[in-house]
């Protein structure tokens, strides 16, 4: 199962190493990770995309993360209403003739060209994982010279739909 897990952590030296080391030691497979500061001073947020076998492994992952002293809160937000985004920079082979063609391709993706040289241009795209994959597939025939992607970052939407049955993972039960 592909899950999106966020962790609020105290921004202390070594905290990233602690968390990734823990996941590696317990054989969890991280697809992507992104870290950055939050609105609160000294507090950072990590977003992991992980591939876990089953519910039990997932429960272990959240519990083990929670056990870390520098970790304040862990949530699996996969099944919640969330906003989630990642960013990709794609350098594509191009010349004056096909520049317009590429412009036409990226427009529906609301991507933008942020750098142009004689024989290439760089596209910046943000959004969901699938959307970025789709754009990369479309640009591939032109020749991708370089590709760099961030991990996914996400949080809950301001309003959550009322769901009759929602699974809660609590460390106390």
């Amino acid at each position: 199962m592909r899950r999106i897990v966020t962790a609020t952590v105290q921004n202390r030296s070594g905290v990233l190493n602690r968390v990734t080391g823990l996941l590696a030691k317990r054989q969890f497979n991280i697809e992507s990770i992104s870290v950055g500061r939050t609105e609160a001073e000294g507090i950072s947020k990590m977003t992991f995309v992980v591939d876990v076998e089953d519910e039990r492994k997932l429960e272990q992952l959240t519990k083990q993360l929670n056990k870390q002293i520098d970790v304040l809160k862990v949530s699996d937000i996969t099944d919640k209403a969330i906003v989630a985004s990642e960013l990709a920079l794609i350098r594509v082979v191009s010349n004056a003739q096909i520049r317009n063609e590429i412009q036409g391709i990226i427009e529906p993706f609301r991507a933008s060209i942020i750098d142009i040289s004689k024989d290439s241009l760089t596209v910046q795209v943000t959004g969901k994982h699938e959307k970025i994959e789709a754009l990369i597939d479309l640009l591939r025939p032109y020749g991708i010279k370089e590709l760099a992607r961030t991990g996914l970052t996400a949080f809950l939407r301001g309003q959550q739909p009322q769901v009759a049955e929602m699974k809660n993972y609590s460390i106390l039960k």
Binding site: Q10, G21, L22, R56, Q60, K67
Partner: protein
């Protein structure tokens, strides 16, 4: 030799160095005994310790590994953190085995390591090692002090984290220039650990769930693990077991949490557990686990572990619940608080009479057994004799391996915190230094280090400490001239190819002991033992007893690796 009297420690009013602040913080934490070894990066700390005079008893083990195992023994017996100081680089890396051991067995240990000065960290300076990087996966938490003003707070947090919740080792790495730096303003020691709030009280709903399940149960069993030691809950455990006539089985570390001679005790379960204990786990319909982490040496193949049971698991560490065994009734709590709640909410007791009879018949029919030869010693008999000569009342420490299992099987413990063994990590060389720590923690008690001839040779340099401090530790070497457990597995699973497991070349342990001015004796027959061991164990002198036992003895019963808990071999002669 002229010995200068150490100047008396005075609480200075003048500006204090980092090392002084550390010493003050240790006094604050009521530390009395420190296990350590000096070196370049901790010179300022050792100078402050020297100036502190009689404030501490510093124990200079002859190898850092000895320091930390001694601190573990101290922590196991007292329940308070063992304190270790080592220098940077090799000093710190020599501690690694002990730190990992304390992590696996949840022992409160606070380790202070020196570090090179902040300015040269990361430059491969002399005696630099990345202690934070190395110890992160094997500590409950670790710190590198980045600023002098943080030091008192960090020490306070370190002791708090090490000794609360599920105990464990905490490392504090102190750069040398922090130790020497002087600060005019005494820094604050206020701490807040928002990410660390162990849940110690049980959820009443879960307790209710368990008491309901108990009322339904026909074949309940209590599994007593190390959490009962840590929660100091032995009395509550006994009251609870007796209240409902619940059969009790132990994990290796749970030995002593419940009186071994009690009619409700069915002994140790697991790979070398008793038939009755393992069958109790196999056949039960309600398993109440108190503070055990369902280690693989206990459970055997998971699909055959308590297959018909509703599983209740009381643990202060939520991550242990459901980790290995699916759990229907999870109770995150300190063992004492949970047992108190259970005692208060006693509903109808399950009717366990038939179940008890069945287990009792297993106990009668399949007791632990061994063949006793005419004159030669076998280790099982040796353990029984040590038990009888010490009145079953000694603190027993062991390494890992055959002798450990025989001690667990035949040295029946009645009281908690008297069983000091390396369970999770399985560390050779643990038993002897741990006995030194145990003896320092309990000076009035008899301490017996049961060690193998292999393990003893890994840390025997600590004989210096027995000599130096006149500690009356009794070292019993169960000498089969082999790495016994390795040899046993090679016999059973590798067609008797004894690859590197026979130690036919050994030091003369008697002369070795004598070279440290310690009494040594070699015992080679039953008669010899009966004549000489009682006196050696009863006096107040240290002694090293080289007990020559038959090499071919194997530990039984046994669950072969990959087998279920009911598939024991060697349950009968």
């Amino acid at each position: 030799m002229k010995v200068e009297a150490k100047p008396h420690y005075e609480t200075q009013t003048k500006p204090k160095s980092g090392a002084d602040l550390l010493v003050d913080a240790l006094i604050q934490e009521e530390v009395k005994t420190i296990f350590g070894y000096p070196g370049g990066a901790v010179l300022p700390i050792y100078d402050a310790l020297y100036r502190a005079g009689d404030a501490f008893h510093h124990v200079l083990a002859r190898h850092e590994q000895g320091s930390i195992h001694a601190a573990e023994g101290y922590a196991r017996v007292t329940g308070k953190p063992g304190v270790v100081i080592a220098t940077s680089g090799p000093g710190a890396t020599n501690l690694i085995t002990g730190i990992a051991d304390a992590m696996m067995d949840s022992l409160p240990v606070v380790v202070f390591t020196g570090q090179v000065a902040r300015g040269v960290i990361g430059t491969d300076a002399f005696q630099e090692a990345d202690v934070m990087g190395i110890t992160t996966p094997i500590t409950k938490h670790n710190y590198q002090v980045q600023s002098l003003s943080d030091l008192p707070r960090i020490v306070k947090e370190a002791f708090h984290i090490a000794s609360t919740g599920r105990p464990g080792p905490v490392v504090v790495d102190i750069p040398k220039d922090i130790s020497t730096e002087v600060d005019d303003n005494p820094p604050s020691v206020e701490f807040s650990l928002p990410g660390y709030q162990p849940n110690l009280k049980p959820n009443p709903l879960q307790i209710k769930k368990l008491t309901d399940a108990m009322a339904q149960a026909k074949k309940p069993v209590l599994l007593a693990g190390a959490g009962v030691h840590h929660g100091k809950a032995s009395e509550e455990l006994k009251a609870f077991a007796e209240q409902h006539s619940l059969p009790v089985v132990h994990t290796l570390h749970g030995l002593g949490t419940f009186p071994g001679s009690h009619s409700l005790s069915f002994g140790m379960a697991g790979m070398h557990g008793t038939y009755a204990a393992n069958m109790a786990l196999y056949e039960c319909d309600l398993l109440i686990n108190i503070g055990s982490r369902f280690d693989d040496r206990l459970t055997g193949k998971l699909e055959h572990f308590a297959p018909k049971a509703t599983v209740a698991h009381i643990d202060v560490d939520p991550a242990e619940i459901g980790k290995n065994v699916p759990t229907q009734i999870p109770i995150v709590s300190d063992s004492k608080a949970a047992l108190e709640a259970l005692l208060k909410n006693a509903d109808a007791s399950p009717s366990t009479e038939e179940w008890y009879k069945k287990l009792d018949s297993y106990r009668e029919e399949y007791p632990l057994w061994y063949n006793k030869p005419e004159t030669d010693m076998v280790p099982q008999w040796l353990m029984e004799k040590v038990h009888s000569y010490t009145g079953g009342d000694a603190i027993v420490t062991t390494d890992v391996g055959q002798h450990q299992m025989w001690a667990a099987q035949y040295y029946k413990l009645e009281k908690p915190n008297r069983w000091v063994t390396s369970g999770g990590l399985g560390t050779m060389g643990f038993g002897f230094p741990a006995a030194i720590g145990a003896q320092l923690a309990a000076p009035e008690d008899k301490v017996v280090a049961v060690v193998g001839d292999g393990g003893f040779q890994m840390t025997l340099q600590e004989l210096s400490l027995l000599q130096e401090m006149k500690l009356p530790v009794k070292v019993i070497i169960v000498n089969n001239q082999a790495l016994g457990m390795v040899r046993q597995w090679q016999e059973s699973f590798y067609e008797k190819r004894y690859s590197e497991s026979i130690l036919s070349t050994q030091p003369d342990f008697v002369k070795l002991a004598e070279s440290y001015n310690i009494k040594g004796m070699r015992i080679e027959s039953q008669q010899d033992l009966e004549e000489r061991l009682p006196e050696a164990l009863s006096n107040d002198e240290p002694v090293v007893v080289d007990c020559r036992v038959l090499q071919q003895e194997n530990v039984y019963p046994m669950i072969a690796p990959g087998k279920g808990i009911h598939e024991m071999i060697g349950v009968k002669p």
